[in-house]
């Protein structure tokens, strides 16, 4: 079994799977159960300033979208930060950390955007023995209306300012959690780095309305006939999160800045993908909220098996391994030519490839009277849609070798060449 031990900005944990700051980490009872189930660490649900705690709605706070067999694909929530007293949380954090010294315990924080508020809370957290803090600049609902959460995360200058305060007033490592509800994720990450952040974590949830009640004509979850946008998470947001992680990882301004990957991590494979794109560890919420804490056991065994197969002895060998292969469109090889190929032995003749290609793509699949589907190489642009819609995964892409002729274009496959030198590109660099 591979060594899954993780050292993320000096915070050690037996594995890279942390529970994200969210409902599952709101109190001692849950966190203890999580650690017993095998989670490497938790980010304690966001604490606010001392005083009367926030209140939550008393109607539904989650909404969902589903795939086949009501498999939960996306979850949205309008829950706020912890609604329990600060002192209660601090006492519990201390108690849990004392009993689980080998696990990572990071505390998420969100207080008003002034120096005094941050200065006041940091020593209280430090006193618990927690391993670090995560600044919640991401929560898109409720708290943002009060000038916190994503209201801060959407202004790089604020991020930098608050991060700097935190670095100034505590010796604990500082992770800045980023909101995806912005146009360019690189800017807040750069600001965090300028402010001295030890790491960024992303993504927080995405502004969303999951569904509309078509009888009451109200967004769901509905509270007394009204609804509000909530934060979207779960498997459906993973692609968005992966891209944002990769953007930060390959941005020269932030390259090397540790990243904690968050967003729809459901299986070991998701975690490995985040790590390959530069995340030093991952944080999980929706998978646990859907299936319970036990899911971590599959993540541990799966990642371990994968690392053994690849011969990786440490997670650090995986982290960032795919980053060099994330590039801009203009550098993609236009002489890389592939053609779809249907494995007739595995094909079940459902015809979905045909419907997709014929109706919406390039009319590159032929069908015989006895329902044999074949690819017309002279029409196939290798778009991959047939591969994507095939329910039994029997279509693959065959790469044409250099020197082969593409029957569609009549051109011979040549060496690497991209858009920057393409004759159709008005600003193409002249060939030397």
């Amino acid at each position: 079994m591979a060594d899954l031990t993780s050292n993320f900005i000096g915070i050690k944990s037996p594995n890279p799977f942390w529970l994200a700051s969210a409902p599952p980490t709101d109190k001692e009872y849950n966190v203890r159960r999580a650690f017993e189930a095998g989670w490497g660490g938790v980010v304690w649900k966001t604490l606010g300033s001392e005083g009367p705690p926030v209140v939550n709605v008393n109607g539904p706070r989650y909404g969902a979208i589903y795939g086949a067999d009501r498999r939960l694909l996306g979850l949205n929530n309008i829950e706020l930060i912890t609604d329990r007293p600060l002192q209660t949380n601090l006492r519990e954090i201390k108690s849990v950390k004392r009993d689980y010294p080998d696990r990572a315990l990071v505390v998420s924080l969100m207080v008003p955007c002034d120096e005094d508020s941050w200065k006041a809370i940091l020593p209280l957290v430090e006193e618990t023995g927690a391993d670090g803090i995560e600044l919640n600049f991401g929560c898109p609902h409720g708290m943002a209306e009060r000038g916190m959460g994503s209201a801060v995360g959407q202004v790089p200058e604020y991020i930098e300012m608050v991060t700097r305060w935190c670095k100034q007033y505590t010796r604990m490592p500082v992770i800045v959690k980023l909101t995806p509800n912005i146009t360019d994720i690189r800017r807040p990450a750069e600001a965090a780095k300028r402010g001295g952040a030890d790491a960024v974590s992303l993504i927080n949830t995405i502004n969303s309305i999951t569904s509309v009640d078509l009888d009451d004509f109200a967004p769901e979850p509905t509270i007394d006939g009204k609804g509000t946008h909530g934060g979207y998470c779960g498997p459906a947001v993973k692609p968005i999160a992966l891209n944002m992680v990769a953007e930060i990882a390959r941005n020269p301004e932030t390259a090397g800045l540790p990243i904690s990957g968050i967003g729809g991590v459901t299986t070991w494979r998701d975690a490995a993908e985040f790590m390959a794109l530069g995340a030093g560890n991952v944080q999980v919420c929706t998978a646990a909220m859907t299936y319970g804490f036990k899911v971590v056991q599959e993540m541990i065994s799966g990642l371990s098996d994968y690392m053994d197969r690849k011969g990786f002895t440490s997670t650090s060998e995986l982290v960032g391994r795919a980053v060099p292969n994330v590039t801009d469109w203009q550098y993609l090889n236009l002489n890389y030519v592939t053609k779809a190929e249907i494995n007739q032995d595995d094909c079940i003749k459902c015809g979905r490839c045909f419907a997709a290609c014929e109706d919406t793509s390039h009319q590159a699949i032929a069908v015989s009277d006895d329902r044999v589907y074949t690819v017309k190489d002279e029409e196939c642009v290798a778009c991959n849609l047939c591969v994507d819609v095939c329910p039994v995964d029997c279509i693959t892409m065959r790469k044409l070798d250099k020197g082969e002729v593409d029957p569609r274009t009549g051109e011979t496959v040549g060496d690497y060449a991209n858009w920057t030198t393409h004759p159709n590109n008005p600003s193409a660099a002249a060939a030397e």
Binding site: A68, D69, R70, I348, K349, C350, G351, R352, F354, A355, V367, R371, P391, V392
Partner: protein
């Protein structure tokens, strides 16, 4: 009750009263909403779907399943009924394993088809439970059509004609409409009086009158010429009234009867405990009627039931699922054997069989014989057309039709089991009745 399963002879009340309820309950209970949702999620929404092609009525299966999956079972039902107005019964009795489900691409993928039949029942039951009829009649045409036979072909034809604005009168020889749905299929396939409920629901379209106990050509009823005089067109869908004989000495011995008679009696029985059944029952034949008779004999308490077919199991007209259903219920299936003699003094006591083999000229008897103890024998070796009007051309013992059921007589169409195009399937009869109706409609509107 002093009778039991061990009692010799043909006697009623072999079982305790509760057993009849259990034995004849719905053998494939309806899907719950949850089961339907999960089953519907398995459909791939295939292009040019094979299931749709395999359905004799060409129901748009992927569409109706998607309609179920998206929470609109009533819309799904309408999709089904547009093609097959007896979609409720077909969902219960179709040999789906040979039709839609047999062609489901999931058979290739994992050997388990989408449960199309059960889903069809879910949709049609949902709509029918609301007692709403999804179709309305077109503007009245002033034309009238006589339909002979209130079975699947006649009902489907009548409904489509009525929908197209014509006035329809259905004549049926029995005292209840429904045909084989009411008299000819196993009780546990459509319990709870479903056949009659379906006819009542179908008649909600309006414009259809049913005349019962009326047989074509029977003294005092009427003949084809009279119908042609009274109506603009005639559709014949009277099914098969006769049964094939074993052609053996002693065939008239007590205890020997057509399986169809037994099934009809069972279907109409108000108390199954009063229905007599033999202790040792032999069913001769290999079709669905044979299986239905054999299984129901067993369920009535017969101790030993043997189903004997002259060819191999693979060649049996009854589907594999039907055969397995028989075996599960304790029926013994004996293949490659044909009856050669009936023994008994007054009543049948034993049937003697010879094993068969395939010869050059067809099936041949071998010298290997055996006898089966039998106090009751059901013949299920096929049915025949009853008396037909002389002017109707017959081919291969059945009414000859062209295209969508045109017979040799002007203004007369036919469909279902009584035609040479029939396949002894409810769903085929429905398709033929429907298609004939469309052609009759075209004919009437052009005329």
């Amino acid at each position: 009750m002093s009778t039991s399963q061990l009692t010799e002879g043909i006697v009623p009340g072999r079982l305790d009263p509760e057993s009849y309820c259990t034995n004849f309950a719905d053998h494939a209970p309806a899907l719950s909403a949850q089961e339907a949702r999960i089953a519907a999620d398995r459909c791939y929404f295939c292009h040019d779907a094979p299931c749709m092609e395999a359905c004799p009525t060409t129901i748009d299966v992927p569409l109706f399943i998607r309609q179920i999956a998206t929470g609109t079972p009533e819309a799904a039902a309408k999709t089904i009924f547009e093609q097959n107005i007896l979609g409720g019964m077909c969902a219960r009795v179709c040999p789906t394993e040979n039709l839609c489900e047999g062609s489901c691409v999931r058979m290739d993928a994992e050997g388990e088809p989408v449960e199309i039949g059960a889903l069809q029942r879910f949709a049609t039951d949902t709509l029918m439970a609301k007692q709403s009829h999804p179709f309305a009649r077109a503007e009245r045409t002033g034309k009238s059509v006589a339909v002979v036979g209130a079975g699947p072909a006649g009902l489907a034809c009548a409904h489509r004609l009525a929908m197209n604005g014509h006035e329809v009168t259905i004549y049926d020889a029995r005292s209840k409409p429904g045909g084989l749905n009411e008299y000819g299929i196993a009780s546990y396939k459509a319990p709870g009086g479903f056949a009659q409920a379906e006819v009542d629901w179908l008649l909600q379209i309006g414009g259809i009158t049913i005349v019962e106990n009326w047989q074509l050509g029977r003294e005092g009823d009427g003949d084809l010429a009279e119908l042609l005089g009274d109506y603009d067109a005639v559709f014949l869908g009277m099914g098969l009234a006769g049964v094939n004989a074993l052609r053996l000495d002693g065939e008239d011995k007590e205890g020997i009867r057509p399986a169809t008679d037994f099934i009809a009696e069972l279907r109409q029985a108000s108390d199954l405990a009063e229905l007599p059944i033999g202790r040792d029952v032999v069913v001769i034949g290999g079709g669905m009627t044979a299986v239905d008779a054999a299984v129901q004999s067993k369920l009535l308490g017969a101790l030993n039931v043997s189903l004997v077919y002259r060819r191999s199991r693979a060649e049996m007209p009854a589907s594999v699922v039907e055969q397995e259903h028989a075996l599960t219920n304790g029926v013994t299936i004996i293949e490659n054997a044909a009856p050669i003699a009936i023994h008994g003094n007054g009543a049948v006591r034993e049937v003697e069989f010879a094993y068969t083999k395939k010869g050059e000229g067809g099936l041949e008897m071998t010298d290997a014989t055996f006898r089966l103890k039998a106090d009751q024998v059901f013949k299920a070796i096929g049915q025949t057309l009853g008396d037909m009007p002389a002017q109707i051309e017959i081919a291969g013992g059945k009414i000859k039709v062209d295209g969508a059921g045109r017979t040799s007589v002007e203004r007369v169409w036919a469909g279902g089991d009584c035609t040479h195009a029939g396949e002894d399937l409810t769903v085929t009869a429905v398709a033929q009745g429907r298609d004939a109706a469309e052609e009759i409609h075209q004919f009437l509107m052009e005329g």
